[in-house]
Each structure stands twice: as structure tokens, then as C-alpha cells.
Amino acid sequence: MRARYGLRFAALTYLTLLLVLPVGLVFYRTFQHGLEPVWSAMTDPDFLHALWLTLLIALIAVPLNTIFGVACALVLVRQRFRGKAVLNALVDLPFALSPVVVGLALFLVYARTGWFGPWLDAHGIQIVFALPAMVLATIFVSLPFVVREVVPVLREIGTEQEEAAWTLGASSLSTFRRITLPAIRWGVTYGVVLTTARCLGEFGAVSVVSGNLIGKTQTLTLHVNNRFQAFDLVGAYTASVVLALLALMTLFLMNLFRKETPRVHSGPRRDEALR
């Protein structure tokens, strides 16, 4: 009994000190001087542009990584070929690599002095210090989530349901849409949530390739950093709170989505899908 309470106390203390307290303090500091300064920080055009840019990047990166992630998971689980182990390891690379290094790598390839630089320059395409590089960087760092969530679910469901659908006359596409996708939907959903959270919070890679041009290539995280360095604490806190709220909203939407598809009321399926 005592050991159980001890464990609980340790876990909760850990969470409080590292998570609840700092985040709570940010909320507190934001509204410390009332709503007036918060409002003015939120109507600041630079802030609004940063918010818009952050959402835009997420809106491009998340769908792409979802489609690629599901396709990649299908290839990893259902197909056998040479070099599969390499692909499998490669998917995890963004987890292992520091985002700053990712940014630097992209820079080396796409900057004016980089590999594709001269060609891109000749064709009037700007990648670095503009939206394309920021999207690329974000896609890179948030790439593994959908794959890693969907792979175990695909392994779990096996191939029998799909084979049954084939023998009943369903084409590969129809089988994917009617059988595979519903079976992996919780894995996909969870992967999408994690991808979104990662996209919203990305700092390192984007900071290298964006050039951090205020009102042009500044995302919310860069904006927070910028305000903080300029001693505009309310501005930094406000943007932080908005970021935190966006993350919370993503989690909330996932839960809402789960409740609206009641389908199976019994059985371990839901947990299976998240395993």
C-alpha cells in the first residue's frame, strides 16, 4: 500500500516540477498584468503573421506526412525486398538527428551556394529563407510519427481481412479504403496528432533555414524566441500560450473524433490500435 502511494507521489512530483509548474507559470505570467497587454500582443501584425505561417506549414506538412507515413508503413510491413532494414532505420533518422543539423543539411543542398542552388537560382526558385525550406524542414523532423504509429497496428491486424476482401471481389484500392484504413484509423489518428504537435513546436531546423525574417519567415516558435530576446516578455508569453492552446486543441480534437465514431463498444480493439 505504502509503496503504491510512494510511487504515485514520485510520479506526480516529477510531472508537477517539470511540466505543470513551468507551463502554469507561463499562463500566470501572461495574464499577470491583465488582458490589455495580452490583447495588444495578439493583435501585433508580426504575431499574427507568425501564427498564420505556423498553421500554413502544419497544414502542408501534416497531410503529406500522413499520406507518406501510411504508404511507408504498408511497404515496411507488407512487402519484402532488399534494403528494407535500411529504409526502416532511415525512417527513424529524424528522431536521432538534431533539428539544427537537419536545417544545416537542407541549407547545404538548397542554399545559393549549395548543390541545387545555382540551378534553382537560374530558374528563379527560392527555397532557403522562404516557405519551401521551412516546410521541408518541418516535414523532415515530423516524418517518423505516422509510420511508427501505423506499423505495429498493421502487423497486429495481419493480412487475412484483406485477403478475405479480395476473395469477395474487392479491388486493392477498395480493400484499402473499406478494410485496411478503418482497421488502422486509431494508429493514423494518433500519428497525426503527434505529427501536428511536432510541426507546431518545431524550432531548430526551421530557425536555420528560415533566416528568421520578421513578418516574413518567422513562425510562432521563432516569434517567441525573438520577443524573449527583445525583453518583450508579455509578447513571448502570449505567443507561448497560443502555442500551448493549439497543442491542447489538437489533443481535444482527437478525443472528440474518437467519441464520434462509437462503432465498437466492447473488446480491446481501441487499445490494440494504440499499442
Binding site: 485477403e163 479480395w166 476473395t167 471481389g169 477498395s174 465498437v264 473488446g267
Partner: protein, 317 residues
């Protein structure tokens, strides 16, 4: 012939799953593909269904070449050992799946599904999800789903393998009755010789990727073509160079010139039947199946000296 398999070979890497297999399955029959695990019986079924592509050989279904056809175009019903239920769909939606793929009118689908659910005795459970059904119910749902599209042949891959013994026996009986009603050519894969004998009117016995013998269940039991067949379709004793079924021994308390002496090691009562284990002087141990009355008449108990004589023996070259 409803299904004809000609010279089919299938390899998985170095493993030869099917080695030049040819078999013909008569229309309207219920055939069991019987064999130990790894004998290639499931692979053969999957080749017929188009779920595996053979390396060599041909498959014909109702006289038409099916070898290159994908499973979608073969019009076969397939039932899997672990049901392959569509977990996110209700029983009704599961059974309707093939009909909806074929874009049949809603009313027709509804009527046909109701009919099938009645046939497999699942009416009343139409709106449930597979997770809310027992194993036996799930497998009957899978059967209804396969039958819904009126397949040319019905292929069952160890359909009762995941069920407990009691339900398995029930479903066997039920499958036989269903086959009498629906009369679609059915091929059933099983490793259980009793199940094959009970359900099928023909048995194709496989071993190590080849067909050992094909015939009626009784033929296989009484006229086995090889030592393997004899041992697989029923219990067998080795007696000198021949093979004897446990019920084909005569056992006496006195010698009669042709019999051989042995010592009773164990007497096991299994209800009506009694199993007597006898040690012969050459260190060979055999077991004999006797009725309870006969055992009581002879007053058999361990340590007793008896004289045995095989009635029917079988010698394989």
C-alpha cells in the same frame, strides 16, 4: 471436374511447399485436404483461391483457366482459420460486403443477407459486431459472407481449428448439413483425420508437398497405399514387418500355435473401449483395442501373460 490442379509446384525460398501436385475435385463434393502441418495442404488451397501464385502448373475452376487470375476474379468463397471478420463492420455489413462490392440493389442485398443469416442461424445477431460473437458464431458469419456472392467453389482453411473441441464437433455436423442444402463444391483443409473422416466424402491425403492418396474415407482407412497413410488415418502397431490396427488383434489366455506370448503392461479403461498395452519378448510394445466385456472375460491385468495373434496385417514394400 469442378476444380482441376495440374502439376502445381510452389516454393518458398528453398522450401518446396507443393511438389508437382495434380488433383481433381468433383462438382458438388465435399473434399478434405488432409495432412500434417507443413504438408502443403493450406498452400494448395491458397493456390486454388489465387492467394498464392504457383511457380509451375495450372489451376482450372469449372473448366476455365484460373492460373493467372487474381483472387477477385476467381469467384471462390474462402473461409480462414481465424475468421478474418471485418471487425469494424456489423454482422450484416460483413455478410453484405461482397454484394455491396458488386453494387447490387439495396433491397436485394437486404433480402439475401437475411436469408443467409437464417441459414447460418445468426438471425437476431445482425446488428452485432464480431467482437460480440463467440468463435463459432464468427465462423458461421464468415461462411455466410463467403456464400453471399454465390461462389463457384467454397474453400475452407482449417475452419474449426481455432474452436474448442465441443463447438468443433457441432460445427462439423452443421457444415455437413449445410453442404447437403447448398451443395456447392467444397474443399476443406484440416490436419485432423477424424474431422476429415466425419465431414468429407473424399479425402486427399498430403505429405511433404505431395499427394499420398486420394479416395473415400473408408478406402484410405482400409486400403492405405503407404505406411504414412496407414499411420495418419488411424492408430497402428508395428508387428514384425507388418502393420496392424489395434482392433485387429485376437487375444487369448492359452497358446494356439500361431499366437505369440506377451505380458500385459497396462490396462486403460476408456468407457466402452479398453486399451491394453502388451510387451512382446522382442522388446516391441503394442496396444490392443478391446471391448469392455472381452476384457472382463479375460480378466486382464498388468503382469498377466497373454497370447496374441494379428487378424489383419498390412505390408508395404
Amino acid at each position: 471436374m469442378s476444380i482441376a490442379v495440374r502439376g502445381v509446384t510452389k516454393r518458398f525460398g528453398d522450401f518446396v511447399a507443393l511438389d508437382d501436385v495434380s488433383v481433381a475435385i468433383a462438382g458438388g463434393s465435399l473434399t478434405a485436404l488432409l495432412g500434417p502441418s507443413g504438408s502443403g495442404k493450406s498452400t494448395l488451397l491458397r493456390v486454388i483461391a489465387g492467394l498464392e501464385e504457383p511457380d509451375e502448373g495450372k489451376v482450372l475452376i469449372l473448366g476455365e483457366h484460373a492460373t493467372g487470375l487474381p483472387p477477385q476474379k476467381r469467384e471462390v468463397g474462402f473461409v480462414f482459420q481465424h475468421y478474418a471478420a471485418f471487425k469494424h463492420l456489423t454482422v450484416r455489413e460483413n455478410v453484405a460486403f461482397g454484394l455491396r462490392i458488386r453494387k447490387r440493389p439495396k433491397g436485394e442485398i437486404r433480402g439475401r443477407v437475411d436469408e443467409l443469416l437464417e441459414l447460418v442461424q445468426l438471425n437476431g445477431l445482425a446488428e452485432r459486431y464480431p467482437a460480440q460473437l463467440s468463435g463459432g458464431q464468427r465462423q458461421r458469419m464468415a461462411l455466410a459472407r463467403a456464400l453471399a456472392v454465390e461462389p463457384k467453389v467454397l474453400l475452407l482453411d482449417e475452419p474449426f481449428g481455432a474452436l474448442d473441441a465441443r463447438v468443433r464437433k457441432e460445427l462439423r455436423t452443421w457444415l455437413r448439413r449445410l453442404h447437403e442444402d447448398v451443395h456447392v463444391t467444397t474443399v476443406l483443409v484440416t490436419h485432423d483425420q477424424e474431422e476429415a473422416m466425419d465431414v468429407a466424402d473424399r479425402i486427399v491425403l498430403m505429405n511433404e508437398g505431395r499427394i499420398e492418396q486420394t479416395g473415400k474415407p473408408r478406402d484410405l482407412y482400409e486400403h492405405p497405399a503407404s505406411e504414412f497413410v496407414m499411420g495418419f488415418v488411424g492408430p497402428v502397431n508395428r508387428f514384425d514387418n507388418s502393420f496392424v490396427r489395434p482392433h485387429d488383434f485376437e487375444i487369448e489366455l492359452e497358446p494356439d500355435g500361431t499366437s505369440r506370448e506377451g505380458i500385459v503392461k497396462r490396462v486403460v479403461h476408456l468407457g466402452f473401449e479398453v486399451r491394453v498395452e502388451v510387451a512382446l519378448p522382442d522388446d516391441n510394445e503394442i496396444w490392443i483395442q478391446l471391448s469392455r466385456e472381452r476384457t472382463e472375460d479375460l480378466d486382464l491385468e498388468p503382469g498377466r501373460s497373454v497370447f496374441i495373434r494379428p487378424e489383419k496385417t498390412k505390408v508395404f514394400a
